[in-house]
Amino acid sequence: MLDERSSDPDGDPRREPLGVLTLAAIRPAEITLDEVLGAVRDPGTGGIALFAGTVRDDDEGRGVRLLEYSCHPSAETELRRVAERAAALPGVRRLAVLHRIGSLHVGETAVVAAVGAAHRGEAFDACHALVDAVKHEVPLWKHQEFTDGTQEWVGAC
């Protein structure tokens, strides 16, 4: 069915085109919502759902001072894979996602994602699915330093 649609993307205006992944990157530099927003804007999009994941000051009652994100060399390839899967969800037109690595303080942004779709329900569903997949399927790791001086690898044991 995907093959059928992609073989003739412009033949029938009522036939929904496949969504396009316009941006997927992992980098140590700051990331912003404006960047993913700009990557998904287009005249056929009626709704854009976005997500920004920020460093909380608290993890189950313990004060957080710093998060250190690191990744495997394959992480950007895996990010692109999960993003392309989300771009194929119903109604999605354009999709963009950025993840930051390195040291992040409380309030800083670790991940941003944006999904433009014809209709808002589809945009929300795909953005949520994308962020879930980024969390569970991309080889990224998070090391937490707490305000009491202790530290831990999140989810490691």
Binding site: G53, Y69, S70, H72, S74, H99, A110, V111, V131, V134, K135, H136, E137, V138, P139, L140, W141, K142, H143, W153, V154, G155, A156, C157
Partner: protein, 80 residues
């Protein structure tokens, strides 16, 4: 038995105390048993939740090790 390179990532690297080492084993599971014996309880606890790559491809604990393979030890992912 194959001579392989084991590469530890993130929490596994912290628990092993090294990024990389050589060892001999027939399977991923056997390699991890040797690694746990060498590095102790902290690594043993982390290994329970890890996934593995052999030469960049996903592997299970039963996967046999080719000579010269690189075994990567990946703790649970925690993006976002």
């Amino acid at each position: 038995m194959a001579e392989v390179t084991v590469r530890y990532w993130a929490a596994a690297k912290a628990a092993a105390g090294i990024a990389e080492e050589s060892l001999e084993a027939a399977t991923v599971g056997a390699a991890m048993a040797t690694a746990a014996f060498r590095h102790g309880d902290a690594l043993t606890a982390v290994l329970e939740h890890c996934s593995f790559l052999i030469d960049g491809l996903r592997a299970s604990v039963e996967t046999p090790l080719p000579e010269g393979a690189v075994v990567e030890v990946l703790p649970p992912f925690a993006g976002g």
